[in-house]
Point group: D3
Chain length 230, copies 6
């Protein structure tokens, strides 16, 4: 039977604040060992944008957005609503009315493995959505589904309370258990990259910074002046 | 034999004005019973944008834009040109010269089930196009086709003079016979949504506004505190 | 064995300057006989944008961006880096660190038949990329490939030193041997189009400007007032 | 309101018999002026196969096959059931039980702009289906739709009673009004092709049979022995 | 760190035997509440085919099939090997040599969210593969990944030892905990369908067998003789 | 100007015979250093099938098959006709009449980066085609193109006279200059694989045959009995 779990665990405020401060999706994905990315077909409806927050998970039937209405009530300030479909279907499951309700609750954004509509209004409101398509097709309210149970969304497994980070590059999930350590890795990575960025901006080559020349040579890379030397 | 119909019926000015005043594609589609949407792969070349106007219909052969030149002459101020292909083909059937000609005639925009080019210039000119792709591939002028005959464009049947509404969400067609009554439904819907929007912005839940709780319970939805209660 | 060619021929400065001055992809493609377009799935990460410059070509293995690091060193000011895959693979082969390095060398942009990441930063930096997708997926550095050998990228054959022109409409390649004559054709075409644009803006029809009416009639096009005349 | 039309007009038996006798989809499409093809993504679940018969049309909601059950009752011996979706959705709307019922009524096959399941059993039964995908995903029975009203299926407009011809190449629709004259054109075309086939099999070239050499020369085609003659 | 789990729990032999006896993917999917289907793009390389067995799970890097070699050793007679990618990539990760090894171990088949090659030989050998594509592109052996850890494959979560059922309709996973009860539901469903099949074959309508007429009427379905009655 | 080259160089008969004797596409691709594959969307219209022969190259305009008629005359016994499009377009550019003509000339098959029709007849005739789609859409005869000039087909560069090998796995091209040495590599590879196949069939593991265990350990792969040992 479909079930709504009302009480989920979220990462600590300090951890959330750390991710909120502009840690990008690419960085988070690298820092946790290159996993957790949702499929690249999920695109933000406007750019630039960056959000981070715990996932409220929701499952909907094809052409039916009823459970999104149910999920809204489970959302708290700072959350990110994540919607998966039980069967792939185009359609605009979400529009400006639902967004108004989520904004009233302080929700940061929506990730949905389907279509969204009213995108001009959503953009004006500053409510970000990562979706598979933009489509005005309406939905019905007939079929139950789970809220706050584990889902697979755009190829990634997401548990309620997992940390979602989303920006112009897409969406990544960090399991709540790993959130703190991944944050630390992200920050170390950022510091390291800042240093590299300065060197590269100054004209140094990554071939030298990362000491790649010997390995390239060992693997057999040959440099020649031109194909037809005279 | 290919034919050009020069005299088509358009919806009344008052009706056109009604749709022109910002009635969105999602609203129109809902108000006419969830039909008339063109496929979601038709996307506007810039956003935000909203237009409404009667359709001039045009059929072109693959890789051949000759009939668009013929269709231009049939366009009047306020019209929307809608182009279908007799066989799916990538290509940039339309660019800034044709747009210049349409702008000179007061045409509001183009809907084309194919590619468009010169999109930087079109954006600068403020001439909106909803297309399947952006592609510079040129076309020839060899094959005839119909102008102002019924077409199927991006999966929707469109008759000349039908009302086209297009915005950031996509494109919808309203048959000219239904335009007046659909306008009334749209306006009623907008009024109703305005009310709902205020309630939702104030923190009320759609579960309560639409009285969904009993029906959810009757269908068997269960609320539990957590999966592993202690 | 994989090879890096360090010394390639580039088109003359004057020719490059000619293309740099806003000759669009559609114009170039038409002027060289409707060839040389890369596939339409290559899209710029921001718009509007226009670049032109000689190609540095680079081949990478699936999920491996090592050779891009090698290719950076071969890039000179004004060049465009063009990356092909030996096997189709999603992934973010390129991000803000590599872009910082290319900017330091005066490179104008990147064309890549794969994914790119850090697009918010790249947009802020004003470093344009034409890519197949935007995806944060990381890559490894294990496999060699050629730099500055001929490649097929997005369906088009590209030799090192060929001229790349890229804008909102996509990407086109001009062989270095043809660059000068294509430039002349482009300029002639632009002049001619400017004239046409004025006529069209003044309300003349392309049917008349291009003398199409007789040919349409000869092919059998019929004009009728309406389908159901009374 | 959704409606079921019980009494539709079908083409004459003699006309149906003519199409039934192996007139292929390509021939029919050519004979009626290269129109009427459904999109190429509709593929038969087994090959070789050829059917022809009048269309019973049916509209279903996403993830909902209820109206197929309603449409079955409207099918007579020799008919072809054609199912369109009001919104694109993957799913297996049709399986062996519905096929058993259609076979009991003498229906020749199914054309569906969606998924089908139980294809091993359908193949064994010899009941052909042209579908967009093969997928086991189940559907519900909640939403009404029209039966025997005009539909757009896979990009083609189909009226109830129109003639459907389907084979290994795909599906084509012939309006019932045109069926008789199209049959005559098909037969003429077949006779003509039979003659050509003999000539070609005997080694004559189409360049000569269709007298193309002068036109090719006039358009400027050049024959050269080799690119680098010595 | 990547890990190989050597000791996994498999469903009981009797349960496996039950599924092996021709329970189709559609039936299993329905019997477990319409869940567990892998994406419809996974297609068998030959038809008809039906297998059932416990999953050995394996993760591979893009363009790298090393871990399949590692996974082979973990396979026992009756198992099904299931391979997911850490990043989407075309390529032929599996061919006749690996198949020979799996056949020697009694493995029933392969499910892979990528490409396969040597399909003529695999077909001859009678070793079934459900794959995303058929492609000869070779892979390397450089990157580690997990074997027998939970994976997401073609959109479905799969744990080692879960039951995989695959046939012409696609692939479904049943969690090992549910396997026994799902088997019972499948058998009940089969018995019930057998009865229905006889009724339908005898000409009874599903409208009557399932008592749908009243509900259709209540929802408002109207029957009319024809659109233009005289 | 479009040109037809009548005199091309083909690989030696002995080399062709070597490839003809069942060397598969995967083997050839590996033996020549993992290059030369055409895109995986090219699929044979029937299976199993294997051909090898020199390429006659041909370019056609969108929706226009005129140059195929021209190319037929350039084909000799044993050749493979390879057709590229100047712009992507769906359509059935080739059917049973052209096939009859090619069969009369001893041509082995067709590779076309577009659609094909009459596939039931082609299958009956035993004339293999590798195409992007099967579609009945007709074409015109209006536009010239090159025959026997280098083309890019499905992402691969092909010169006239290059060796084409095609089977159930797809299509690969070998440059005529490399054909002899690639043949030798293929044969060595086949011999080596035959040996491996026997070992694997006998139950030996590739982990041992290829000595992978130490390298896996060195990279850090860990074997554990189970995730939750008691």
């Amino acid at each position: 039977m479909p079930v709504v779990i009302s009480n989920i665990e979220r990462p600590h405020k300090a951890v959330l604040a750390g991710f909120d401060a502009a840690l990008g999706v690419a960085t988070v994905h690298e820092a946790q060992g290159r996993k957790g990315l949702l499929a690249s077909y999920l695109r933000p409806i406007y750019r630039p944008i960056h959000i981070a927050g715990p996932a409220i998970t929701c499952e909907v039937a094809p052409g039916d957005n009823w459970m999104i209405h149910v999920a809204v009530e489970q959302c708290q300030s700072g959350d990110v609503l994540v919607v998966a479909l039980t069967s792939e279907c185009e359609g605009g499951y979400f529009g400006d009315l639902l967004a108004t309700s989520l904004v009233a609750r302080g929700v940061k954004g929506l990730v949905i493995d389907a279509g969204v509509r009213d995108v001009a209004t959503l953009t004006e409101m500053g409510f970000p959505v990562w979706s598979k398509t933009i489509f005005a097709q309406g939905t019905v309210k007939e079929t139950l589904g789970n809220v706050n149970m584990p889902i697979v969304c755009a190829g990634a497994e997401i548990h309620p309370g997992d940390l979602i980070v989303a920006d112009d590059d897409g969406v990544v999930v960090v399991s709540s258990a790993d959130a703190e350590s991944v944050l630390a890795s992200c920050q170390a990575r950022e510091t390291n990259e800042e240093e590299k960025r300065k060197q590269l901006a100054g004209g140094e080559l990554s071939l030298d910074i990362y000491d790649m020349r010997d390995r390239l040579k060992a693997k057999g890379l040959k440099y020649v002046d031109s194909l037809d030397p005279d």
